[in-house]
């Protein structure tokens, strides 16, 4: 496949973004990186009270429409809540992380990125019944060096120590949710068509309940909103070959996921039909995300003020909210292709009944 959008430069940006740590409330390092990346390409940039970075690229053609696109900077992370003796830290998640994903995983802690590893139980001295039980945050600890523990305090953020790698047809990294959305928004800001008065918002605290997007949309009051995100693709091998997986949410290799109904929002059918029309016209694979739980910044935008039509376009990704997630390059490529063609064909007609 010929990759027109996910060039080595674009991939390099995603790599840097995923290797940068930014949990909810601690997005500064990611924001600074994005600022450097976009500052020479746009008309204005400001950071609001919650830490959202609002980037404006003014329209150069008329008639124009005011479009807000949100991509969240924060990733799921953890926080030190207690410092036990003997070099053991007690931690809790900032955002949703299943404790069962954590045993024996390497992390870095605090501003100095002190290395640590999650505890594991020694098989020789545990009972079979303990090994059948789930892990939980009350039992898990993070081990750090005795000589380093004095530099760690309750309240320090804890991040996964995960490299950015290619695995087969995929990229494997932490924080693909939602650094891929950030990379897509950077691409759009650099390549936006002239009739779009574009407000790109790199939001904070999505993982704690779409908190940044709520206040950002209020400040902008766009004609139309979008969220660029990553969405779960739940597609394990099944034990019985006669079974079918009816609960995949999305599948990798089938292109960008167009949200329809999630926990927070019934997406607008006119926008969905426009997306389908554009995708089919340009032969871009796409999929409608299975209705169900979950949600993106889009649902915060659509409930702002007297209501804003808003749509989520997300890249299907395996193992979100774990130490390592996996996204196919072709899904990412098709997502950017769809964003490119869709924004060219957006017109104010879409929001007029």
């Amino acid at each position: 496949m010929n990759y027109r959008y996910t060039t080595p430069e674009v991939i390099g940006l995603l790599e840097t973004l995923t290797l940068t740590n930014g949990g909810s409330g601690d997005e500064k390092a990611v924001r600074d990186l994005l600022y450097q990346e976009i500052k020479d390409h746009v008309d204005s940039i400001r950071v609001d009270q919650l830490g959202n970075m609002i980037v404006h690229k003014a329209a150069t053609a008329t008639p124009s429409m005011k479009v807000m696109v949100a991509a969240h900077m924060d990733e799921v992370s953890l926080m030190v809540v207690d410092k036990k003796d003997e070099g053991f830290l007690e931690v809790r998640p900032v955002g949703g992380i299943d404790a069962n994903a954590l045993s024996a995983k390497p992390v870095v802690i605090g501003k100095d990125s002190i290395p640590g590893v999650f505890s594991a139980r020694t098989i020789h001295i545990t009972s079979a019944s303990e090994r059948k039980s789930l892990l939980d945050y009350e039992k898990l600890r993070v081990s750090v060096g005795k000589k380093k523990i004095e530099k760690i305090n309750p309240g320090d953020y804890v991040y996964f120590m995960t490299p950015f790698e290619r695995l087969g047809d995929f990229f494997a990294a932490k924080a693909i949710d939602d650094r891929v959305g950030c990379a897509n928004l950077i691409w759009l800001l650099k390549n936006a068509p002239g009739h779009i008065d574009l407000y790109g918002v790199f939001t904070v605290q999505e993982e704690l309940g779409l908190r940044g997007a709520k206040v950002a949309a209020y400040q902008i009051m766009p004609d139309l909103g979008f969220a660029f995100d990553a969405t779960p693709a739940i597609e394990p091998p099944l034990m019985d070959s006669n079974e079918h997986n009816y609960a995949y949410n999305t599948q990798t290799g089938r292109g960008p996921a167009i949200y329809t109904v999630d926990r927070g929002q019934v997406h607008n059918e006119k926008v969905i039909f426009l997306i389908r029309k554009v995708a089919e016209k340009h032969d871009i694979p796409y999929q409608l995300r299975q209705p169900g739980g979950g949600g993106t910044d889009s649902s915060a935008i659509h409930m702002t003020g007297s209501g804003i039509i808003s749509q989520s376009i997300s890249v299907p990704t395996r193992y979100l909210h774990s130490p390592i997630s996996m996204m196919r390059q072709d899904d990412w490529e098709h997502t950017l292709h769809l964003i490119d063609t869709l924004f060219s064909e957006l017109s104010p007609e879409i929001i007029k009944e």
């Binding site: 036990k84 003997e86 053991f88 069962n100 994903a101 045993s103 024996a104 995983k105 390497p106 290395p115 640590g116 590893v117 999650f118 505890s119 594991a120 139980r121 020694t122 098989i123 020789h124 001295i125 545990t126 090994r131 059948k132 039980s133 789930l134 892990l135 039992k139 898990l140 600890r141 081990s143 750090v144 060096g145 005795k146 000589k147 380093k148 120590m161 790698e165 290619r166 695995l167 087969g168 047809d169 995929f170 494997a172 739940i234 394990p236 091998p237 099944l238 034990m239 997986n245 609960a247 395996r318 193992y319 774990s322 130490p323 390592i324 996996m326």
Partner: protein, 362 residues
């Protein structure tokens, strides 16, 4: 000291799953070549490195064998299905620590992957609220089903792929510290002995297949037929959620095992050396019928071999990040070397049946 640490960094970055120890053995062969007089590899793959003693006389020189196993636990592919791999373990794993672990699948070529776990709704109801058993976990390599099937077959070995991390200047976290940490301690001993005079022959053996039933130790013990043996393995350091008399602090010296399946007099003589040189140690009480180490094989070799067991305190044994304190590894090497240098021609006369009068200093 520095050299043993560097060696440890090198060999804990390697696979060397039980039965597939060759890469580790090759590193040790190169490292030990200048330190010993001769080397050979046993039929089961164990590396024997002999350093001759200075004792002369009519009798055959006495010989002490050091045994540390170079194999490590790992995984093995059981099925290639839908572009994923099912697997089982080689050696004992708690399946709860495997999800999202990076691995290398040793197929036609080395392939990186991660262990993944299904969400609860894809598990049978009887497993809801319980940990996911290993047979439901799978390896995701990101390769297409066709490509994966062409590269990987059931029976291919899978090793852990995480890199070692130094938690501070004293502490290393890595996979395969059990028992590569002990191999590094043997290296430390050989480095010290290279500068010293000792009467006895020393044969350092990096054994194979300990994790699947002490196979290398059985056969190498038979081949060497030493007068004495010391096995070096790992002990249990304190870890969250564990309580037990056998748990020790890291950084306070090696454990010297004491119990009926080891030789009491040999323990007492080693303890004397540790006390004389003020090398800290833990007395590890082992009342059971086995130690779970190569000593179980060597003690019962031929007509029986008096054997001692040193254990380096290790946290999170059989996990992708086992942790040890460098000082414990180095002190183990030093105590081994000092004990070996203290061995004289008549040493065997000190060993008799039953507990010593006192394991404490008389």
């Amino acid at each position: 000291m520095e050299e043993s640490r560097q060696l440890l960094m090198t060999i804990t970055s390697m696979a060397g799953v039980s039965g597939y120890e060759k890469p580790v053995r090759e590193v040790l062969e190169e490292k030990w070549q200048p330190l010993v007089d001769e080397m050979h590899v046993s039929n089961l793959g164990s590396l024997h490195a002999l350093k001759r003693g200075t004792q002369n006389g009519e009798n055959k020189r006495k010989r002490i064998m050091l045994a540390a196993h170079m194999d490590a636990i790992g995984l093995m592919v059981t099925k290639v299905v839908d572009g994923y791999l099912r697997f089982t373990s080689v050696g004992g794993f708690d399946a709860r620590l495997l999800p999202y672990q990076p691995v290398i699948v040793h197929g036609k070529e080395p392939i990186k992957g991660i262990v993944a776990t299904p969400v609860e709704r894809h598990l049978p109801e009887k497993l809801h609220g319980k940990s996911v058993p290993m047979e439901y976990l799978y390896i995701d390599t990101g390769l297409s089903p066709e490509k994966l099937a062409g590269l990987v077959k059931p029976g291919d070995i899978v090793s852990l792929a995480n890199e070692p991390i130094e938690l501070d200047e004293d502490t290393i976290a890595a996979h395969t510290l059990d028992d590569r940490g002990a191999v590094a301690a043997v290296n430390e001993c050989l480095q010290i002995l290279a500068q010293r005079v000792h009467a006895w022959d020393v044969v350092a053996v990096a054994t194979t297949q300990e994790e699947v039933g002490l196979k290398g130790a059985f056969t190498s013990g038979f081949a060497e037929n030493p007068d004495l043996a010391i096995v070096i393995d790992m002990g249990f350091a304190k870890e969250p959620g564990a309580s037990g008399y056998y748990l020790v602090e890291m950084g306070e010296g090696p454990c010297l095992a004491y119990g009926p399946v080891l030789n009491y007099q040999l323990y007492a003589e080693i303890e004397k050396v540790a006390k004389r040189l003020e090398i800290p140690y833990h007395k590890e009480i082992n009342p059971g019928g086995r130690t779970g180490t190569d000593s179980d094989a060597i003690t019962l070799t031929r007509e029986g071999i008096p054997t001692a067991l040193f254990s380096i305190p290790l946290r999170y044994m059989h996990s992708p990040y086992e942790i040890i304190h460098y000082d414990d590894m180095e002190r183990t090497g030093r105590l081994l070397a000092e004990f070996i240098c203290s061995l004289d021609i008549d040493f065997m006369e000190k060993l008799s049946q039953g507990p010593a009068a006192s394991s404490e200093e008389k």
